[in-house]
Symmetry: C2
Subunit: 104 residues, 2 copies
């Protein structure tokens, strides 16, 4: 088995063509995702936490969306302030950031 | 919270430029991933199981690689026969397909 990560965060980078339906990739997710990965590395977490781009995860009207496994928590992450809160709480300490959780 | 999936499979679709290092995307993962998603839907599993493309998950010399969460099982999936075994066993019944697990 490859590295066993304590958490694996996927950020949706799907960029939908045309303007009919929104998409995470057009709402800034690539900048947030890349910066989040760099901050994760800067904190020395690269052996514990993985940060990976994903295709569409079906939150097009809600995103920028991210999911953290193994907990399966779905987040709306609009900026680096939100992303840092997920890093500080969920990825560092395993605490879910309730205010950013996507609910029905 | 959005749909709660019993399993979420990510297939690496990363396509590396140049020929110096291999990548899952150049080893057939897009065809396998798309067909796997269609078969999952054909089996009526779309409310239980998610199949999503991902960026690089670091298995470039081993892949085509996939991960199934929440279990965090990493698979090498070379063809649709392998993919169907993961569908039959892991995604349908929650049983890990030991012969396809990526080990150190």
């Amino acid at each position: 088995m490859p590295k066993t990560f304590r958490c694996h965060l996927f950020w949706c980078g799907h960029e939908r063509e045309g303007d009919e339906k929104p998409s995470c990739g057009k709402r800034g997710s690539p900048d947030i995702g890349k910066q989040l990965k760099q901050e994760m590395r800067d904190r020395g977490l690269r052996n514990e936490v993985a940060v990976t781009k994903s295709g569409c995860i079906g939150q097009c009207t809600v995103g920028p969306a991210m999911i953290v496994y193994p907990e399966g928590v779905w987040y709306k992450v609009e900026n680096m302030e939100d992303a840092r809160e997920i890093l500080d709480c969920h990825l560092e300490k395993g605490e879910v950031v309730e205010r950013l959780v996507i609910r029905d």
